[in-house]
């Protein structure tokens, strides 16, 4: 799989693919050494700068990361304190400059396990973001579930829509 993925990611192009019933894989190459890319994924003050797509207009208000095996993370999105929603889980594996594995526990019905790998490609970094859902149904639900999405997340969609509409 790596071979195919790396070919797709050669030109700083974001590839998004459902690679199996239970898996979603996103790849991208970054023009920087692995250590820098890894830093941007593991230092909260840096992570906060990029994780929330700006066009959504819903910033990350808080970001706590205890980046070590068993450590917890919590991301809180929202415009103000009254309107926030959180994503949280814990790290299953932390291999500096190589690999991060975390759970997504906000989904009560069984969230995906996320694995992010950082691979050196001649001084550049091939990043592979891999979501493994517990069942085919869980991923199908994530795809089909948009009408059931939380009201707060609709706000986010609204914002995204507004910006997409302008384009």
């Amino acid at each position: 799989m790596d071979q195919r993925v790396s070919e797709q990611a050669t030109q700083n192009h974001t590839s998004v693919e459902r690679t199996s019933d239970r898996e979603l894989v996103i790849t991208r190459t970054f023009d920087a050494p692995v250590s820098l890319v890894f830093e941007a994924w593991t230092r909260p003050e840096l992570f906060m700068k990029w994780w929330a797509p700006r066009s959504m207009g819903v910033p990350l208000r808080a970001c706590d990361m205890d980046v070590r095996k068993g450590g917890k993370y919590r991301l809180e999105f929202g415009q103000d304190e009254a309107n926030t929603f959180a994503f949280f889980g814990r790290y299953l594996e932390v291999l500096p400059n190589a690999r991060l594995v975390w759970t997504n526990d906000e989904d009560e019905t069984g969230g995906a396990v996320t694995t992010v790998t950082f691979e050196d490609r001649d001084g550049k970094t091939l990043l592979i973001f891999h979501d493994l859902y517990p069942t085919k149904e869980a991923l199908d639900e994530a795809i089909a579930g948009m009408p059931d999405i939380m009201p707060e997340q609709f706000t986010q969609l609204d914002q995204l829509l507004a910006s997409l509409g302008r384009g």
Binding site: N12, T14, V16, E17, R18, L24, I26, R28, F30, D31, A32, P33, V34, S35, L36, V37, E39, A40, L46, K49, W50, W51, A52, P53, R54, S55, M56, D120, D122, G123, F129, I143, A144, M146, P147, D148, F154, L157, D158, L160, L161, A162, L164, G165
Partner: protein
């Protein structure tokens, strides 16, 4: 194909930008309903509800069928549940996210001169 998919995605988002329309989708998720029933439920004029249903129908989120004098609404088959559309949305989100990550990494590069390449 991609073009088509993007247009439909935009239409879906536009349809979802209104709280009443989201309510209508939730309602139809529980069972089919006529325009009259929806109008009553959402305390709205028939004309107003027709407009909302029209937007949802255009986006493929709702399908309607007229039987006699009653127009029944149900969830459309090509709602956001469509996998290609969902993947497309993911790509938009990750594209922007990663562009922002590029900026952050660029700043780091300036701040922390690295000792040569790792290769």
């Amino acid at each position: 194909m991609v073009q088509y998919s993007n247009t439909r995605l935009d239409a879906s988002f536009a349809a979802l930008s209104d709280p009443t329309r989201r309510g209508v989708l939730e309602q139809l998720g529980r069972g089919n309903a006529s325009i009259t029933e929806l109008a009553e439920k959402f305390r709205m004029t028939l004309t107003g509800m027709k407009k909302h249903v029209g937007v949802l129908e255009k986006a493929g989120l709702v399908a309607t069928e007229k039987v006699g004098r009653v127009r029944t609404c149900k969830l459309g088959q090509h709602g956001l549940a469509d996998e290609a559309t969902w993947i497309d949305l993911q790509r938009r989100i990750w594209d922007e996210r990663f562009d922002q990550l590029d900026e952050v990494i660029g700043e780091l590069k300036l701040k922390e001169p690295h000792n040569g390449s790792e290769s």
